[in-house]
């Protein structure tokens, strides 16, 4: 059992590290490809040689990011087969189909139109080149769509039926995969890439201004970066609101963890800043926060779009208590009952396997009926007490606040950049403190982006597939030592890739600083 725990822990750390590294490259590709397409569109419409040079400079940085980041996500698929083999088998074609489509689309769209975008200058018509640049950007987003659809299914498993003979969830409704959870997640993640790329363009352009080089190039780039960043951020906030509503419906425990909320109220305030009490348990009387500044009605509005609505806390969810729109207390399925029904479902699955071996169809049907009745709670059967079903509250709580606070900062930042640069390009280009803030803002934007994923993925723990398969059951029966070895191999490889990316980018940016763009 000790070995299993360390294997689970190391596998989780490995997956988290790989995903975090992968997400360093992806959002910049998603956003910068759009920014480059916008710049090329301006160049095409204005027949401007200056805008063409600007486009080509940023396209080179896009190429660097794309080349270094490409295929880093495949490592995650390696890990599925080795570290998470039970999970891989259990999710069957539901996870496989979107990933296969992603692979094909990524290859054909990005390889074909990406090649025209990078190699096609002067070889194809300007109009076709521009179309290829846009199609590369759209292709990158469509690739992300399938990954995010697969991820959303793990958080909200729909459109499938469990086949105990195959031991797989079999897809029976492909279109159900495009649930509101998936649609919100797709736009939230992809559009956050626009905001990140906007911050990237502003930071690099500010470096040019800092060095006193290529002022016109920097100002024009900042305008496009700030507009794209602002549009991306506003839409990210809008879809984030949609995600919060969906999380309330489908993963209320995650929402409670995001808020560090143990006992809900109607109306429920939202903690703007606070410190969670590490001694707080779901069943003790300790205060939830050591310190907090809360916005009245905030969580009711965020979660249920009703300023007076009840929002359940961790204790309420565990006890199966909620309040409906009419204000009446209603009882959902308590976690104690979920655990009991999960164990019943697992026993039924075991009996199904025995009956199958004996070719006893009557017993198989009986076991199948029992399994189907309690299958929605299947995963809870792995827990011995309700506490095991609570995600890490502190990490989820703080990550959520880092994301929101930094997101709010960037809203002001993009607006400030736009107002200032349109009001007076001259004073903007001479304000070194603003250039310094712009450069410091870039790592903060990456922190904001990563925090969003930490909220999404840590907040859904302990599940790999919501309600059906916790991490402890999803893991392969492999020694922890093999995971530890590959963990450090990845740490070294990804760090080298990151150093290469930053090194080549800095080299290219400095080259740009020294020449006339």
């Amino acid at each position: 059992m000790d070995n299993l725990i360390t294997t689970v822990d190391w596998s989780r750390w490995q997956f988290a590290m790989t995903a975090i590294y992968h997400w360093l490259f992806v959002p910049l590709t998603l956003g910068l490809s759009v920014i480059v397409a916008i710049m090329e569109t301006i160049s095409y419409r204005k027949k401007s040689a200056e805008w063409l040079r600007i486009t080509k400079f940023w396209m080179t940085l896009l190429a660097i990011n794309f080349a270094i980041g490409v295929a880093t996500g495949i490592i995650l698929e390696f890990e599925f087969g080795t570290n998470w083999s039970n999970y891989s088998w259990f999710v069957g074609d539901i996870f496989g189909a979107p990933l296969a489509i992603e692979g094909i689309l990524a290859f054909f769209m990005e390889a074909t139109f990406g090649a025209v975008m990078f190699f096609g200058w002067g070889k194809v018509s300007e109009r076709f080149h521009l179309a290829s640049t846009w199609l590369t950007a759209i292709g990158a987003s469509i690739s992300a769509l399938w990954i995010l659809v697969a991820n959303s299914w793990m958080q909200y498993p729909v459109g499938m039926e469990f086949d105990p003979a195959q031991m797989r969830n079999v897809m029976d409704d492909f279109w159900a995969l495009f649930s509101p959870v998936a649609i919100n997640k797709f736009f939230h993640a992809v559009l956050s890439g626009w905001a990140l790329a906007g911050a990237f363009v502003i930071a690099v352009s500010s470096y040019f201004l800092w060095k006193g080089s290529n002022r016109e190039f920097a100002i024009r780039s900042i305008k496009v970066g700030a507009w794209t960043g602002l549009a991306g951020l506003l839409l990210t906030m809008y879809t984030g609101d949609g995600s919060a509503v969906e999380v309330t419906k489908t993963q209320p425990m995650k929402l409670a963890a995001m808020e560090g909320l143990y006992e809900g109220h109607a109306p429920q305030s939202l903690v703007a800043v606070g410190v969670v009490n590490p001694d707080k348990k779901w069943n003790n009387d300790e205060p939830e926060y050591l310190f907090d500044i809360s916005l009245p009605y905030g969580l009711s509005i965020l979660a249920r779009h009703d300023y007076n609505a009840f929002v359940p806390g961790i204790k309420n969810i565990i006890e199966g208590v909620d309040v409906n729109e009419a204000g009446d207390t209603i009882y959902t399925v308590s976690y104690a009952e979920r655990i009991a029904r999960g164990k019943t479902a697992q026993e039924a699955l075991k009996n199904y396997g025995i009956a199958m071996e004996q070719h006893d169809t009557v017993a198989m049907n009986k076991a199948l009926t029992a399994l189907e009745a309690d299958y929605p709670y299947f995963g809870y059967g792995y827990f011995n007490n309700v506490e095991e079903a609570i995600p890490p509250v502190a990490l989820t709580f703080y990550s959520f606040r880092v994301m929101v606070i930094l997101g709010s900062f960037f809203l002001l930042f993009f607006i400030a950049c736009l107002v200032w640069v349109y009001k007076s390009e001259d004073t903007f280009s001479k304000a070194r403190w603003m250039q310094l803030i712009s450069m410091i803002a870039l790592p903060l934007m990456y922190l904001c982006s990563q925090s969003g994923w930490i909220v999404a993925e840590v907040g859904r723990q302990p599940w790999t597939v919501q309600d059906l398969l916790p991490v402890g059951a999803a893991i392969s029966n492999i020694p922890s030592s093999s995971v530890i070895v590959t963990f450090w191999m990845f740490a070294v490889i990804f760090t080298l890739l990151l150093i290469a990316e930053v090194g080549i980018m800095v080299h290219w940016i400095n080259k740009g600083v020294k020449q006339s763009l």
């Binding site: 080179t60 190429a63 660097i64 080349a67 270094i68 490409v70 295929a71 495949i74 490592i75 390696f78 890990e79 087969g81 080795t82 083999s85 039970n86 891989s88 088998w89 259990f90 090649a115 025209v116 990078f118 190699f119 096609g120 070889k123 194809v124 105990p164 003979a165 195959q166 031991m167 797989r168 697992q346 026993e347 699955l349 075991k350 396997g353 059951a473 392969s476 029966n477 492999i478 093999s482 070895v485 590959t486 191999m489 490889i493 890739l497 290469a500 080549i504 290219w508």
Partner: protein
């Protein structure tokens, strides 16, 4: 049609020939993919179920046993 293929070929050929920063990028991509597929995937990341069980039925049974605690 033959013009299309010739133009496509020339676009790729000239594109690769005229690369500047791209040469380093391609080197990184190739080394990365070689490490990923010829080292990591081959020696460190087998598909456990495919490696340990010959048929789909055996794999399903292994997962059933794992998930039901047998």
């Amino acid at each position: 049609m033959s013009n299309f293929w010739r133009n496509t070929y020339e676009m790729y050929r000239d594109g690769f020939r005229n690369m500047t920063v791209g040469r380093y990028l391609w080197a990184i991509i190739i080394v990365k993919l070689l490490i990923m597929f010829l080292v990591l995937k081959l020696f460190f990341f087998p598909n456990i179920l495919e490696r340990d069980y010959a048929t789909e039925a055996e794999r399903a049974e292994a997962v059933r046993d794992a998930l039901t605690g047998d």
